[in-house]
């Protein structure tokens, strides 16, 4: 409830009084929330309607971010790039009643999947705002589902900025052209209507706001809002120790046989500025994990924005204090015509992780243990639903099996946070909704024992999910990351357990899949089983409250073995804590050497597969597809 009373903190300029300023600020937040509800409830496809893989944000006419409170971080921090491209391509041709559509990653979008609707909002004849709705589409007309593309033409239809409404007139031709190039056009049409509807909801509210305050006053308040965030961000960064900090991370693979792809973040804190540079990262790869400029900037920014006071509004004023660069042609900033289809999550999580690891050295109390990455269950399943007489094709992402978040100083991690690039903003579908909408029977969705990184505060638990197709086989796309390079533990905490996936046969034997770019065809007598990654721990597990360790053992989340060997807690046969033995064990286990900001600091530390595999099981590894070696490059624009 604390509201600072000094004028320096409550409002920005003498023209704006604290109350009007507060109303304006909160009105923008509320509009973002209202847009989100309108989109989520009206959308057809599960990505948007169930899983919240979408963002609604508001920019001013100069492409300055004004509100992002209710958005997925990766979607909106770099969203100004789309607007700048529109301004470049449509000089003097942005008019009242226009509405733009774009998904092209080389025109500022995060990746092809993130279709974006941008609507200029005019009041009193002047262009004042942009209302922007970005939502992950269930399909983009790619050649094959999954991680198999090796250039941008195979990834699907590319939409550079186009007008779908021109001065109020709907461009049926353009919309038809788009829908003819994607699968499930009925679904995607519904989604597009929902996105336009959401942008219009914002337009309606923004116009109410401008008619209440007047355009001139609105413009003053925009400046005040940006200045306010600017000032508060500056104060936060000034309080951080100046220095140069380096963090490293590795993606498991790219889908075409390259493993342990390296990202290096050099974070320089100087005065009220944070500079992030990715020089030294791997060159871009053949597979689809290369980052677009927009996604890289957003994921890098998240690594810093999550370390400052969360009540500071995330607008242009914050972003002014970040200077983010990456060499063109690296995996962190791919050059045309690289594939970027999975970059939001699959290099994105490594980018933010590398920034966090650097920031951990500057502000140890504020940076969490590592977060689990986009999990193999999320990459999806597809098939035909024959339960209701007809045969209907379906596709879905199984978010109910997603990865967990890391611990923070003082707080255990949350489960099912999916990916650091969403910071927990996404939703998972209910088990029952999944079974009603898709011909899947979920046999299990439970926390996996010892999957959370140990620590004084433990990470969230990974989830074991067992999925059986009903009546007809389903095709599961193998993807996901963080299995070979699990989330780091911070300041003495352990990394989360890796995770992975296998098909379990009727005879109990299992086929494991390591890497990406593969499919598993699962029949009704088989089970698709995924283990998601647990979050990294924070602080030494030897300092965890023994009572909480006991609770974990009783709840079958911490094995007795781990309690003894990792947490140093000894329980007797009645599950009571033997305090004396515990003290001795903890003394015995306490490391002599200096605690590192994060561990592991090497590639390929995941041990999940080894811990699971038995002699009866087989393992299929990601391969380099032979056609890649033969393909003639015709990268000519």
């Amino acid at each position: 409830m604390a509201v600072p009373m000094t004028s320096a903190q409550t409002s920005a300029s003498s023209e704006t009084d604290p109350i009007t300023f507060a109303i304006f600020r909160h009105a923008l937040t509320a509009i973002g929330q209202e847009m989100t509800v309108a989109l989520e409830h009206a959308a057809r496809s599960p990505f948007i309607a169930l899983q919240r893989d979408h963002s609604c944000s508001i920019y001013d006419h100069q492409a300055r971010l004004l509100n992002l409170e209710d958005a997925l971080p990766v979607h909106s921090v770099g969203g100004n790039l789309n607007i700048l491209e529109i301004m470049r391509l449509f000089p003097d041709d942005i008019n009242e009643g226009d509405c733009f559509l774009v998904n092209h990653p080389f025109y500022g979008t995060t990746h092809l999947g993130d279709l974006t609707v941008l609507l200029p909002v005019f009041a009193e004849g002047q262009h004042v705002f942009w209302s922007v709705v970005r939502a992950h589409q269930q399909n983009v007309g790619q050649a094959w589902p999954g991680f198999t593309a090796t250039n941008i033409w195979q990834e699907g239809i590319k939409v550079p900025p186009v007008k779908i409404f021109d001065r109020g007139r709907e461009r049926h031709d353009v919309i038809r052209f788009y829908l003819e190039n994607v699968r499930l056009p009925d679904w995607l049409r519904g989604d597009l209507l929902a996105m336009i509807g959401s942008a219009r909801v914002a337009e309606r509210r923004l116009l109410e706001l401008t008619s209440r305050f007047g355009v001139d006053s609105i413009r003053e308040h925009i400046e005040a809002l940006i200045d306010y965030a600017d000032r508060r961000t500056a104060a936060e960064i000034v309080s951080m120790p100046d220095g140069v900090y380096v963090g490293e991370g590795w993606a498991d693979s790219d889908g075409t046989g390259s493993f342990h792809i390296y990202v290096r973040a050099t974070v320089t804190i100087a005065g009220d500025m944070v500079s992030i540079d990715f020089t030294g990262s791997s060159p871009q790869v053949d597979g689809s994990i290369n980052s677009s400029l927009g996604a890289m900037r957003a994921n890098a920014a998240m690594g810093v924005l999550s370390c400052i006071d969360p009540t500071i509004p995330h607008n242009e004023g914050c972003l002014r204090h970040l200077n983010i660069t990456a060499p063109l042609g690296s995996v962190t900033n791919a050059a045309w015509p690289a594939c970027t289809a999975s970059c939001t999550v699959l290099i994105g999580d490594v980018i933010s992780e590398a920034v966090w690891k650097a920031m951990a050295q500057a502000v140890p109390d504020r940076v969490p243990g590592g977060w689990g990455r986009w999990n193999v269950s999320n990459t999806g399943n597809a098939g035909d639903d024959v339960r209701f007489g007809t045969s209907r094709p379906y596709m879905s992402s199984v978010m109910a099996g997603g990865s967990a978040g890391g611990a923070s100083k003082g707080f255990d991690g949350w489960p099912l946070t999916q990916t650091a690039c969403s910071l927990g903003a996404m939703k998972a579908e209910s088990i029952e909704m999944r079974e009603l909408l898709f011909p899947n029977l979920v046999e299990k969705a439970e926390f996996a024992i010892d999957s959370a990184g140990a620590g004084t505060w433990i990470g969230g638990y990974g989830i074991e999910l067992r999925l059986r197709p009903m009546l007809t086989p389903m095709r599961c796309t193998v993807g996901g990351d963080g299995h070979l390079n699990p989330p780091y533990g911070a300041w003495g905490g352990s990394p989360g357990a890796g995770g992975g996936a296998f098909v379990e046969n009727a005879d109990g034997s299992r086929t494991f899949y390591v890497g990406k770019g593969m499919y598993a065809i699962v029949h009704p007598d088989q089970i698709w089983s995924t283990f998601s990654t647990g979050g990294g721990g924070y602080g030494s597990p030897l300092n965890r409250d023994p009572e909480l360790v006991r609770e974990g053992v009783r709840g079958e989340l911490i094995s007795r073995d781990a309690a003894r060997k990792i947490f140093g807690v000894i329980l007797d046969e009645h599950d009571a804590i033997d305090y004396e033995a515990t003290a001795g064990q903890r003394e015995h286990l306490r490391p002599a050497e200096h605690v590192q900001p994060y561990q592991p600091a090497v590639a390929g530390a995941g041990r999940w597969l080894e811990s699971m595999k038995t002699g009866r099981d087989t393992v299929i590894h990601e391969q380099r597809p032979s056609y890649l070696n033969k393909e003639i490059s015709i990268h000519v624009r």
Partner: protein, 688 residues
């Protein structure tokens, strides 16, 4: 006809509203007794009886309705002080309570505590059994393991059991059987099945509704049982009714069967009263506010219907049920003003409560509160608080503010008090904006009905800042919830799952499912609450989406039978377009849930109208005192009026203060109050 009584136990005061046979309303207040809330109930009722020259036996015997709102269960959840609860769930799904919908609120806040799941994992036990989406049995219930799990719970000393299996909303057979076995094995231990509490799709809210119900069952059952017994043994011949989170009331038996409906119920009654009082100004677009000692509750009503929501949560746990959407913030008369680590003034959410209370109560409270600020600013009369029943100590208030706010901030005590007043108003304005502006509703055309002991001192300023022109302060303002309880209808919600597409659904099916629920509800209301069938009306709703969409919309269905399914489909298209800007006429509609609300309407007594006494107010003048008004540059000599003497037609021009027995209206400069035909205060912002 007898007395109708509403009893609302707040954090600071226990409020009573009594409606006499002739329709006059009176209020009564006693301090809340947190160690045993019934103590305050009996003190209050005894006092009311004495005021009528009667004794408790005689008064209770003459009561036609006693409706009670309780925070017992809400507090039990907040403090995690409920029963030691075990959960029997489908094997493989032990973690539904912790997994939730996977969404972490406050995205950028990495230091957010996970909600405590109420049932620890070692008491969440998976039973081999399974239904599919159609209710067909995939795996039989393994009664042997069920019994073993119950044994384990017994050994652990479990005091309540929730049973929540997947798809029990479609086929409750396994849950029913499990219920029987638990009852056999654990006699006397309350057990709640999710299909009895919330038979809707989505396992998380359904499991939560069952767990919450089991968790609070014994607490609420024993409290209400004791209350019922005490009232009956003291002469009450009628049933005690309990207000629910839907704003309607229910019998004790009904609440004990579905305890989740008692959660967050207290504030849900205030809008019922607000609607009644706003009749005086002929408006049904209302924002009701209730500012008590600890919290500030807001509810918005459009066309007389409060906004309802099935997304209410308590400490992060969803209730699942359809409830009146009340927004609550920690701002009340008892809210403590303090200086945060950054040197900024803050107010609340911590409250001094009733004990020790604000510094000015002189009960040992040393920290400055909003009430202390109001006293220093001259808005309260130290000799006429609660009609003079309680003395206030201005010097203690000033000292607390000086010591804890003014000195640290280097300002005068007056400026500090004015800052506290302004800051708490700021929070309340935000609270009102949350239910209006933030939902895209412009509050300016609404009537602000101000309730709670502290509300009317602030309402004029809140209205001015929000651009609201009309405020209504009922005579019963300080007991708004209690008044709502005394006048609330008896209601019961029923629901069913039938997931089906519009192309396969017939009007006969729809009519049958609604009628079945209505008959069940009517039978319940008749046997439990003695409500005659002709006093019951029904509202029908359905939840639907377009086929392929996955979020359903709750849409009102026509009253009574439909002739064609098209009537529902049409209503769905309309609702979808209104909310989400588009419709797809060619798309079939997927129906999920069917709901009815049975309303046993109580007969409202006509309110007593006063004769017009004209604008003159000299008869009500009390000695003037100095009060602080920022727009006038500081303290000014301010006229004071005795509210008890103000009559219909009397006009009070601001700056002024109206002192009624239990509330205090501050009429700010440029505002005015006109007493309406029922004696309530019509407050206008700006000259009318």
């Amino acid at each position: 006809m007898g007395y109708r009584v509403g009893i609302d136990i707040g954090g600071t005061f226990t409020d009573f509203t009594v409606i006499d046979q002739d329709g006059t309303m009176a209020i009564h207040k006693v301090p809340t007794t947190p160690w045993d809330p019934t103590e305050a109930v009996f003190a209050g009722l005894t006092g009311i009886a004495a005021n009528r020259g009667s004794d408790l036996q005689e008064f209770l015997a003459a009561c036609e309705r006693v409706t009670h709102g309780t925070t017992t269960s809400t507090n039990a959840v907040i403090q995690r002080a409920g029963a030691k609860t075990g959960l029997l769930c489908t094997e493989g799904f032990r973690d539904i309570l912790e997994i939730g919908d996977g969404r972490k609120p406050e995205v950028y806040n990495l230091k957010l505590r996970k909600p405590d799941p109420i049932v620890p994992r070692y008491l969440r036990l998976g039973v081999p059994e399974r239904m599919d989406y159609s209710g067909a049995v995939v795996r039989d219930l393994d009664e042997q393991s069920l019994v073993e799990h119950i044994e384990r719970m017994k050994a652990e000393g479990v005091e309540a059991v929730a049973v929540a299996f997947l798809w029990s909303n479609v086929n409750p057979e396994h849950e029913r059987r499990a219920l029987e076995i638990v009852r056999e094995q654990l006699p006397g231990v309350p057990v709640v099945a999710s299909s009895d509490v919330l038979p809707l799709i989505r396992e998380w809210p359904r499991t939560c509704a069952a767990v919450l119900s089991a968790y609070i069952h014994d607490g609420i059952a024993s409290y209400l049982g004791r209350l019922k017994e005490l009232l009956a043994s003291n002469g009450l011949k009628r049933q005690v009714l309990i207000v629910q989170c839907t704003g309607g009331s229910a019998t004790v038996d009904e609440i004990v069967a579905r305890p989740v409906y008692s959660l967050l119920s207290g504030p849900a009654a205030a809008p019922v009263a607000a609607l009644l009082f706003a009749d005086g100004v002929g408006s049904r677009d209302i924002i009701s506010i209730d500012m008590g000692g600890t919290s500030f509750d807001v509810c918005l009503m459009q066309h007389g219907d409060p906004i309802i929501s099935n997304e209410l949560r308590l400490t992060g746990i969803p209730l699942g049920v359809m409830a009146t959407d009340i927004h609550s913030i920690g701002a009340g008369g008892g809210s403590i003003a303090w200086i945060d680590s950054g040197g900024a003034l803050s107010v609340g959410p911590r409250s001094a409560g009733a004990h020790p209370g604000p510094a000015c109560y002189g009960r040992g409270g040393e920290l400055p509160t909003v009430t202390d600020a109001n006293l220093v600013l001259g808005y309260l009369n130290p000799d006429y608080f609660l009609g003079g029943a309680m003395r206030l100590y201005p010097e203690k208030a000033a000292e607390a503010i000086r010591l804890h706010v003014a000195e640290p901030l280097g300002m005068s005590t007056t400026d500090a008090a004015a800052g506290i007043f302004k800051l708490v108003n700021f929070h309340m304005v935000q609270g009102i904006a949350h239910v209006s502006v933030e939902r895209g509703i412009d509050p300016r055309g609404f009537v602000l009905v101000a309730g709670g002991g502290a509300g009317p001192a602030h309402a004029g300023m809140l209205a001015e800042e929000l651009g609201i022109r009309q405020v209504m302060v009922p005579r019963q303002a300080s007991a708004l919830s209690a008044a709502g309880m005394a006048t609330s209808d008896v209601t019961q919600d029923h629901m069913r799952t039938l997931s089906i597409e519009s192309t396969a659904l017939t009007a006969e099916q729809v009519n049958a499912i609604f009628r079945e629920m209505e008959e069940e509800a009517a039978a319940n209301l008749a046997t439990q609450a003695g409500i005659a069938p002709d006093r019951i009306r029904f509202r029908r709703f359905f939840d639907a989406s377009y086929v392929g969409q996955v979020h359903e919309l709750m849409v009102p269905a026509p009253d009574g039978d439909i002739g064609d399914i098209g009537e529902l489909v049409h209503r769905f298209h309309e609702a979808h377009e209104r909310l989400y800007t588009y419709r797809i006429e060619t798309n079939p509609v997927q129906f999920y849930h069917w709901r009815i609300r049975a309303i046993g309407a109580i007969e409202h007594l006509p309110r007593v109208e006063q004769p017009d006494a004209g604008p003159d107010t000299t008869h009500a003048r009390k000695p003037a005192r100095r009060a602080y008004f920022e727009s006038l540059g500081g303290y000014v000599e301010t006229p004071i009026y005795d509210g008890a003497l103000l009559r219909r037609g009397n006009i009070v021009i601001g700056p002024a203060i109206v002192e009624d027995t239990t509330t205090n209206i501050v009429v700010f400069p440029g505002h005015q109050v006109t007493v309406n035909r029922f004696g309530d205060y019509g407050y206008t912002v700006g000259s009318s």
